[in-house]
Symmetry: C2
């Protein structure tokens, strides 16, 4: 039993929301002290206290409870009130309180939750947003390496009603560490007396619960499995992610990337269901930012006002030239962003990508220069035509370089490369386009800028 | 036996590649006449002749052969030489020769092919490109409704080694028509003597082999199954598509849409592996097209040359205004295109989408007008500020309207809505932007356009 004085102190620390102190205070306590103490607190405090226990301590305390109390704790850990408390915590407090739960609790919690509740409640497991831990389900069958195939088949039959995915049977040691996966059909085709260990080939793919969901998409894309096993930080099998859930994630991620590609902030709801204020809110910020970026283009033009006044013909080619740089640039950005999303392009590829892109861009620029040169010659004479063609090459090459580099820069700054949207690349390319075009014109046509 | 005269005629028709005549000639023949006749021809002719048979006739002929000959025919139907012949046919000939194969042949062919060969060889089945029929695999377990659960379990065990997907057992009638799907776990939990028919609930989702692969993506997204059964035109179960294959399709489709969104033609290979000439080829066409679209913007500006010369300050706001229309427009296009790809927006929604978009666009335009009004007032006086603000509202509203309408128009013309790329929408919006801005300016500032 814990002395009343300590209990009062603990109570005060909970009220003061002083989690670091609370952790220190709780750390030395044994499970048989913690368990009865928890029962003396009200529901909300109990959950908060439980979340302050060390990982091993939390596991021991959980197993100290009988079935009914375990069930009660699980439901308290995941009910709406707890979710509200934990959702409304400050980021610091969340990190303190939402540490990874011990594997037995995670496994039980997953089974305990209905599929409808699961998505919302998985935030309680202590795995970061958009991590594999938020995606996993408990519907898998697992057997021990030391069983015979006959015992294993009996075990599989017992687990079958709860197992969505029976194609692959997961093999663990006595502590639940994942050792291998073996297709069900190999069990069916093998004599009952053979040891499960002899079916193992030691070759399997698994995901960490902390891994980003993107990794599940990429692994699933490579491996052609229906489900991938998920382990916690100590290698214990705690769930599976299934191909259909990964499909949902992939489609959502792609939608986000596609939206970002046009300067639209990610939305939860579909276009037709989204309220109008949301459609407005997700679009206005980039539109306003881009207005201000475009002021620089205007300023560039204003700087060359005299030149424009004396050779108004130049204005004819302005939209065409600056847009070309933006178009080539957003093509380059799109290729790099998608390559990054699919795992084909990594941060280390910058030099290789740049070298590919520069060569392609120069040939693109040459082709486009040729197309406008004839038009410009016919319309405004050879002098302007030279300026236009030369500008085109420079603008397309430089626009492509900007478009290709921006996703790398954003990633370096820990931002989403997909934020290198077509409008942003276009607006930046516009500024340099204006300066290059009118700069080249003022040099070649002998005007003062 | 078929008389030599007829044989010669048939031979001539094959050489003349006159498939319609050949069909007519073959139609009245019975399977026991066709089968020995086929053996008298060389491999290439045999395959072509077989593909000219009616569907029932082809099925009968196939079952007329013994196992070895069936095997031989299957390998001839799918070997490299045949693929080359069929790939190089004219589109008309392809339609004639690549009719849907009879279900038993399709099923056998799927099992016969190795997973590596499958993707390439599935074009031979007679299902259109990007159809579900090109995606299916034969790895499923099927039982008859009239079996007992005990018999069914024995059957499932027999099929297990070839069945990738054992979660769901498919129930067919004696002719192979799909009747229902039942989870394996329900078999395991049921007494052996119960009839399979009594496990059925008549509630299942299936795909036609002719359906576009997009439909598989959308159904899989809704249903959370690992695999969906595929039936041929007569409702016979011929394959399954699995969630991991659907994931690959979804990612490829999204990549294509994302590329199109920046005016890049679809590429097979990843960015890093694509040869440079391909990176060039997939990008240059839209870039050149857009150059010519942009000429209209230039022409619009040239039309107002005098106005620009007298109020050069107007040029300062030109990039900012026309880009804003393009940006708002490509946001709208992106939302509609993605909505269409995910099945949220259909062709029938045009009026609803337009009404939503117009209201949002006007508020977006007002916000942006406010932002530039102050800037323009400060820089160029109230008269120009009024012109700029008014133009902004008109340009953003109209740009959004264009962006939102273009995908609907393209779909109406049976083109891919995703071709309404950001650069295209931007370029079109630019033209109208130039005309609206300078038109409003020339009216309000009392200048002649």
């Amino acid at each position: 039993m814990i002395p009343q004085k300590d209990l009062d102190q603990i109570q005060d620390l909970v009220l003061a929301r002083n989690w670091p102190e609370l952790r220190k205070k709780l750390a030395p306590l044994a499970a048989d002290e913690v368990a009865p103490m928890l029962l003396q607190f009200g529901k909300a405090e109990r959950v908060l206290l439980y979340r302050c226990l060390g990982r091993q301590q939390a596991a021991d305390t959980f197993s100290f409870f009988d079935d009914d109390l375990q069930h009660q704790l699980l439901s308290e850990l995941t009910d709406q009130e707890t979710r509200d408390i934990l959702t409304n915590l400050s980021p610091d407090d969340r990190t303190d309180l939402l540490e990874e739960l011990p594997a037995p609790v995670t496994q039980r919690l997953l089974t305990f939750l209905s599929p409808e509740d699961r998505r919302e409640a998985l935030m309680l497991l202590g795995y970061p947003e958009d991590s594999v831990g938020r995606l996993m389900s408990p519907d898998f069958a697992t057997v021990r390496a030391e069983m015979t195939v006959g015992e294993a088949m009996a075990e599989i039959r017992r687990q079958a009603p709860d197992s969505e995915t029976l194609n692959m049977i997961y093999i663990t040691d006595d502590d639940g560490h994942l050792l291998d996966d073996v297709p069900l059909r190999r069990f069916i085709a093998t004599d009952e007396k053979v040891k499960v260990r002899d079916l193992m080939d030691g070759y399997y793919s698994s995901l960490s619960a902390f891994a980003p969901q993107e990794e599940a998409v990429q692994l699933m894309k490579q491996k052609d499995f229906f489900a991938l096993p998920v382990t916690d930080s100590s290698g214990v099998l705690i769930g599976v992610v299934t191909a259909d859930d990964v499909l949902d994630v992939a489609l959502e991620e792609d939608t986000e990337d596609i939206y970002k590609g046009s300067g639209i902030a990610p939305m939860e709801s579909s276009y037709m269901r989204a309220p109008l204020y949301q459609l407005y809110g997700r679009r206005i910020s980039w539109l306003i930012i881009l207005v201000f970026v475009n002021i620089f283009s205007g300023a560039g033009i204003a700087h060359f006002e005299e030149l424009i006044e004396s050779v108004v013909a130049l204005v004819f080619f302005l939209p065409l030239l600056i847009d070309s740089g933006g178009n080539a640039g957003s093509q380059a950005a799109t290729l790099v962003i998608r390559g990054m999303a699919l795992g084909d392009v990594t941060a280390a590829d910058y030099i290789r990508v740049a070298w590919r892109e520069i060569r392609v861009a120069i040939v693109l620029g040459l082709s486009m220069a040729l197309a406008v040169f004839l038009l410009a010659w016919w319309r405004s004479g050879i002098a302007v035509a030279q300026v236009v063609a030369l500008s085109m090459i420079a603008i397309v090459a430089f626009g492509s370089f900007i478009g290709m580099s921006l996703p790398f820069v954003l990633r370096k700054w820990n931002m989403d490369p997909a934020a290198a949207s077509a409008p942003l690349v276009t607006s930046i390319a516009d500024i340099t386009g204006v300066l290059m075009y009118l700069g080249i014109a003022s040099t070649l046509l002998g005007e003062v800028g």
